[in-house]
């Protein structure tokens, strides 16, 4: 293997592509110093992968790129290609020729290529290290590197040997392995950490897992046990359900049966209830009947008792008297009879007395009633009167208060009226006053006129002002135009040659120049001369160069100035030299009609002669033709046209307008200056006028403003007055209205008061009248009380009388009974002793016997009656009440064949009386029977009525005392009977 060629492009000093071809053997590269020989070596080192810029003798890698020279621009990249012959296969690659290229750009990017394929530096190094060319590049022995080999450390020297021995690739392998190991160590550490951590976590987790496993086993066991228990429960519950269902069935059946029965029973109940309902009235009837029967039974019982009593009594008496003699008895009877009679007489007496007492009582009662009526009437009348009096008094009082109030009101109204009147007058006055005032304030038109006048004045002033302002502006503008023109011309006037230098020098007085005293220089000719307007061009042409010249005091000064200019390289300059006046005489005469140029210019005194000398023989012509004519006629003259052409006999120059000469410019400048001054003065004048006009305007405006203010004040005052006027008018109207209202109110109050007073008087009279009437005395109750007392006494008397009558009667009857009894005893004893009592007396005797036995028959009907009522229909309840009544009668009537006596009558009458009396309370006790009675009355009354009627008259007799004691009547009946 050997290097075949090296191609450099833009590497270091190799700007253009250069190729070096090498041969096996020795190739020498020669050249002068600094020609770039070493760059060849550098290129090879670079292409083989050198990384250090320093070993390539550069500061940074980009320095290997051609940096450009004065003739060549810098390049953007460096490229080196090394071609190696690999025919011997020293490089492990399947090519007989290997070309390695390294390329670098200014941006710092670099790239490698092996046989045109892009690759990495590493690949290049790998490729070469196999061929024994390592990174150390020991095959490249650089300039001055030899020493470094010796001075290197032993370890570095070892590196050379190693590289040459090809150890490098082994080292590389080792490094790789070590790197791997290192990386692996990291992994190993991480793994160890992880496993350690996991192991640590595993332990508690294992315990937990063990716990969980055990818990799971237990839970499973537990679940199974619970399940079994539940299964048992389930089986039990199922059988229970079956049992319950069967029970339920049975119960349902029973319920159905019971329901049927219930229905049946309910039907029965309904039936029974219906029957009950049907039977209810019957029951009621029956009850009623029963009650009635009981009452009857009671009565009968009491009758039986009575009878028993009587019999006992009688039997006792009989026993007592058994021992007595009939005669005694007779006498006794007789005695008793007498007593009885006596008593009866007393009774009659008493009865009479009773009648008298009753009468007296009735009388007294009537009197009392009358008296009471009277008293009531009197009391009523008194009450009425009091009432009327009170009403009247109330009315009087109210009227009095009303009149007082009306009077007060009247007074108030009068006062208010007076005040209102006053106010109304005041308001009217004020109104009148204000109106008068208003009249005087009507001066508006004056103000208007004044204002209009002031406005007109102001407008006039304003117009004047405007005009003056415009004029001033115009003047100013003109002035500034002139000033600008002057300035522009002055700029052109500045000298740019020797004359200017000279003039500048002279102007600079500070410089004390020995070469040119400032006294010698008079100034610029253009500035010194004054040209008649319109002849500037003429003068400029006539003067020629002298137009721009500098005026000096004399030839000496001119020479001095010229020398100075030469010395200082100041340029050329023309000079107008102050001249001797003597030279003025040889001036050629100017023919008449022609204008000498010299007359168009005015010069300062010291220069006048000189100027005239210079302009001698020059005349002004209007145009070239005229100039030609002048020159032809006067060969001694030179004609200058207005446009600046010069035509002389010997010389002529002219043509189109050239640059203006200084003279012309100066003239223009002067003119501009004059114009400016004039304009400025005009402007100043105008400004003054303007000031005056402004003042006038301001004054006019102030006047107008004053007028306006006055007008405003007047208007304000007027409006105030008008407002006040309106107020016053309203006040006056209000006051008048108030006066009217108050007057009306007062009138009303007065009439009301009058009416009230009149009413009061009437009422008072009435009251007085009423009061004056003698007070009705309280009706005296004495009479009535006396009467009442009398009545009481009468009643008592009556009562006493009646009592005594009764007592007597009773005694009489008792005596009669005794007498009878004695008589009967005596009679019964009579068979043995025929001395019988009188027959009349005997006749009644049997009845008592019967009477004693009568209880038995009387008892019988009730016993008969008790069974009978239930069998009888409901319509019969009435009949028992009546039926028992008739039955006792027939027995009595039938049982007493002897005509009934007065003594006997009380018995049946009391019995009869007791019956109806007993019937009367019955309805109250047994209300159920009551509805029946009316319904049955028509049917039953038709029959019993005739039968009952007989007892009634009988009852009427003894019923005299009855009205008083209706309540206890039926109770008192038995004692009455008992007494009998």
């Amino acid at each position: 293997m050997y290097l075949k060629s090296l191609t450099l492009k833009g590497f270091k000093s190799f700007a253009s592509a250069t190729t070096l071809r090498f041969e096996p053997g020795i190739t020498c590269v020669v050249g002068p110093n600094g020609s770039g020989k070493s760059n060849v070596v550098d290129a090879i080192a670079w292409v083989l992968g050198e990384q250090g810029a320093k070993s390539l003798r550069g500061g940074k890698m980009e320095d290997v790129i051609f940096a450009g020279t004065t003739g060549r621009p810098a390049l953007g990249r460096a490229e080196v290609t090394l071609t190696i012959d690999n025919s011997d296969g020293a490089i492990p690659i399947d090519y007989s020729e290997v070309s390695i290229t390294r390329r670098m750009f200014r941006s710092g990017e670099g790239e490698y290529e092996i046989n045109g394929d892009r690759c990495r530096l590493l690949d290049v190094q790998d490729l070469l290290s196999d061929a024994g060319i390592g990174r150390e590049m020991h095959v490249l022995v650089g300039q001055g590197k030899l020493d470094s080999y010796l001075h290197a450390r032993p370890e570095d020297r070892r590196a050379f040997i190693e590289e040459a021995a090809g150890v490098l690739k082994h080292r590389k392998r080792k490094e790789k392995a070590l790197r791997k190991l290192e990386g692996m160590q990291g992994n190993l550490d991480r793994l160890s950490d992880l496993t350690g951590e996991l192991r640590r976590q595993l332990k508690p987790l294992g315990r937990q897992a063990e716990l969980a496993r055990r818990a799971q086993a237990i839970q499973m066991d537990l679940r199974e046990a619970r399940l079994r228990l539940l299964a048992d429960d389930l089986a039990g519950l199922r059988t229970n359900i079956a049992k319950d269902l069967a029970d339920e069935e049975a119960l349902k059946e029973r319920r159905a049966v019971l329901a049927d029965e219930h229905d049946r029973l309910a039907a029965q109940v309904a039936e029974v209830e219906a029957a009950h309902a049907a039977d209810k009235p019957r029951l009621a009837r029956l009850q009623e009947t029963w009650y009635r029967l009981q009452a009857v039974a009671e009565r009968l019982r009491s009758t039986a008792q009575l009878a028993a009593e009587r019999r006992r009594y009688l039997s006792e008496e009989q026993d007592d008297r058994t021992g007595r003699d009939p005669e005694v008895l007779e006498t006794e009877a007789q005695r008793i009879r007498e007593q009885e009679i006596e008593l009866r007489e007393g009774i009659a007496e008493d009865s009479e007395r009773l009648a008298a007492a009753v009468e007296a009582r009735e009388e007294t009662e009537a009197a009392l009633a009358e008296a009471e009526q009277r008293i009531v009437g009197a009391v009523k009348a008194a009450a009425e009167r009091r009432e009327a009096l009170a009403t009247l008094r109330g009315r009087v009082d109210s009227l009095k208060s009303r009149t007082a109030a009306a009077a007060e009101e009247l007074e108030r109204a009068s006062i208010a009226l007076a005040e209102a009147k006053e106010r109304a007058e005041a308001a009217a006055e004020a109104l009148a006053e204000a109106e008068a005032e208003n009249e005087t304030a009507e001066t508006d038109s004056e103000f208007d006129e004044a204002l209009a006048e002031a406005k007109a004045r102001t407008a006039a002033a304003k117009a004047e002002l405007d005009r003056l302002q415009a004029a001033e502006r115009d003047a100013d503008r003109e002035a500034s135009q002139w000033a600008a023109r002057e300035e522009a011309l002055a700029v052109g006037l500045r000298r740019k040659d020797g004359a200017a230098a000279l003039l500048a020098r002279v102007a600079d007085t500070d410089r004390d120049d020995a070469g040119l005293p400032s006294d010698d220089v008079l100034g610029s000719v253009a500035a010194l001369l004054t040209v008649r307007p319109g002849y500037e061009a003429v003068l400029a042409a006539a003067l020629g160069r002298l137009a721009d010249a500098v005026a000096v005091t004399g030839p000496a000064a001119a020479a001095k100035a010229i020398r100075l200019l030469r010395d200082e390289d100041g340029g050329q300059a023309a000079f107008l030299v102050k001249h001797d006046p003597a030279g003025a005489q040889d001036r050629p005469a100017v023919p008449g009609g022609l204008l000498p140029v010299a007359d168009t210019v005015t010069a300062p005194a010291e220069l006048a002669a000189t100027v005239r000398a210079v302009l001698a023989g020059m005349v002004v012509a209007d145009d070239l033709d005229e100039a030609r004519a002048i020159v032809e006629t006067h060969p001694g003259l030179t004609a200058v046209t207005r446009s600046g052409d010069v035509l002389g006999a010997a010389t002529a120059h002219g043509g189109s307008a050239k640059a203006q000469s200084y003279i012309e410019i100066q003239a223009a400048v002067d003119e501009a200056r004059d114009g400016k001054i004039a304009a400025e003065s005009l402007a100043a004048q105008l400004r003054e006028q303007l000031e005056a006009a402004r003042d006038a305007h301001a004054e006019a405006e102030a006047a107008a403003e004053q007028v306006r203010t006055a007008q405003r004040q007047a208007q304000a005052a007027q409006s105030v007055v008008a407002r006040r006027l309106a107020e016053l008018g309203a006040a006056a109207r209000g006051a008048e209205a108030e006066v009217a209202r108050l007057a009306q109110a007062r009138d009303r109050a007065q009439t009301a008061r009058e009416a009230d007073t009149a009413g009061l008087a009437g009422l008072e009279a009435q009251l007085e009248e009423l009061e004056s009437l003698p007070a009705i005395e309280e009706p005296s109750t004495d009479e009535r009380d006396v009467l009442a007392r009398e009545l009481d006494a009468a009643r008592q008397n009556e009562m006493e009388t009646r009592l005594s009558v009764r007592t007597a009667e009773e005694r009489a009857s008792a005596l009669a009974g005794r007498a009878d009894a004695l008589a009967r005893q005596a009679q019964s004893d009579a068979p043995r002793a025929p001395a019988a009592p009188p027959s009349p007396r005997s006749s009644p005797k049997p009845p008592p016997k019967r009477a004693s036995s009568s209880p038995t028959p009387s008892k019988r009907p009730p016993s008969n009656a008790t069974p009978s009522p239930p069998s009888r229909p409901a319509a019969k309840p009435r009949s028992p009440t009546c039926a028992p009544a008739p039955p006792p009668l027939p027995p009595n009537s039938s049982a007493s064949p002897p005509p009934p006596t007065a003594t006997r009558s009380p018995v049946p009458s009391s019995a009869c009386a007791s019956r109806p009396s007993k019937r009367r309370p019955a309805p109250s006790s047994a209300s159920t029977s009551r509805p029946c009675s009316p319904s049955t009355a028509p049917t039953s009354s038709s029959r019993p009525a005739p039968r009952r009627s007989p007892p009634r008259p009988r009852r009427g007799g003894p019923s005299l005392p009855r009205p008083r004691s209706t309540g206890p009547s039926w109770r008192s009946a038995p004692p009455a009977a008992n007494a009998n």
């Binding site: 050997y2 290097l3 000093s13 190799f14 700007a15 250069t18 070096l20 096996p24 053997g25 020795i26 190739t27 020498c28 590269v29 020669v30 050249g31 020609s35 770039g36 020989k37 760059n39 070596v41 020279t69 004065t70 060549r72 061929a131 024994g132 060319i133 095959v139 022995v141 030899l146 080999y149 001075h151 032993p154 370890e155 020297r157 070892r158 050379f160 040997i161 190693e162 040459a164 021995a165 150890v167 082994h170 392998r173 080792k174 392995a177 190991l181 160590q185 190993l188 992880l194 496993t195 595993l202 987790l205 937990q208 897992a209 969980a212 237990i218 066991d221 537990l222 199974e224 228990l229």
Partner: protein, 214 residues
């Protein structure tokens, strides 16, 4: 059965709080642990392999280096004899026991001199010694080509002749690219390139081949 249930409940209570996920977590963790352990074993094995490789490489390096050094040392003595006839030069290992890291020391004793310290040699002697070392290396383990940039600048005529002899010998096996100003060096060249600089740009002027038949 009820007893069993009661016992189960009691035991469950005794166990206290139980993490129901522990079983799964434990299984997952165990698996992971096993996996990592295997990985760890793998890595360890690989490391061992690598260590072996390193060891092998080291051995190889030692061997190669030892051979190369022996060759170089022999050549150096020869070359030194050639450049300094009558002189004595050799290279030594600073630490012969540690062939992996040992350095290499140079001893040079030009004829008639007793110095051993290299810094005490003259400039020319130093150049020549260094060249001798290089050439010894080159000859012990030849490279396909060498580049030498004005290596002979400090040599006198005699020594230059000796060096040229060495170069000529090197040329037998390798390609040489020499940059030089010495005419004698140019004379041994098979090809010659002239390099000039024009306006800052290097130009290879004559690419002529000058074959000189000696």
């Amino acid at each position: 059965m009820e007893k069993r249930a009661a016992r189960g409940e009691r035991e469950l209570k005794l166990l206290g709080k139980v993490n129901p996920l522990a079983l799964e977590e434990f299984a997952a963790l165990e698996e992971r642990y096993k996996f990592l352990s295997e990985q760890l074993e793998d890595v360890k094995k690989t490391r061992a392999d690598l260590t072996t490789v390193v060891k092998e490489v080291d051995d190889r390096i030692q061997q190669v280096f030892a051979e190369a050094f022996a060759d170089t040392a022999r050549e150096f003595e020869n070359v030194f004899q050639t450049v300094f006839p009558g002189g004595e030069g050799r290279i030594l290992l600073t630490d012969p026991d540690d062939l992996l890291h040992t350095g290499v020391e140079v001893e040079a004793r030009p004829p008639g001199k007793k110095v051993k310290r290299l810094s005490l040699l003259s400039g020319g002697e130093r150049s020549l010694t260094a060249l001798a070392l290089l050439v010894a290396i080159f000859r012990a383990r030849p490279s396909p080509f060498y580049l030498m940039d004005e290596v002979e600048a400090a040599l006198d005529d005699v020594n230059l002749g000796r060096l040229l002899d060495l170069l000529r010998r090197l040329q037998e096996n390798s390609q040489l690219l020499i940059i030089t100003h010495q005419k004698r060096t140019m004379e041994i060249g098979d090809a010659l390139y002239g390099v000039t600089m024009r306006a800052g740009v290097t130009q290879v002027i004559s690419q002529k081949f000058s074959r000189e038949e000696d």
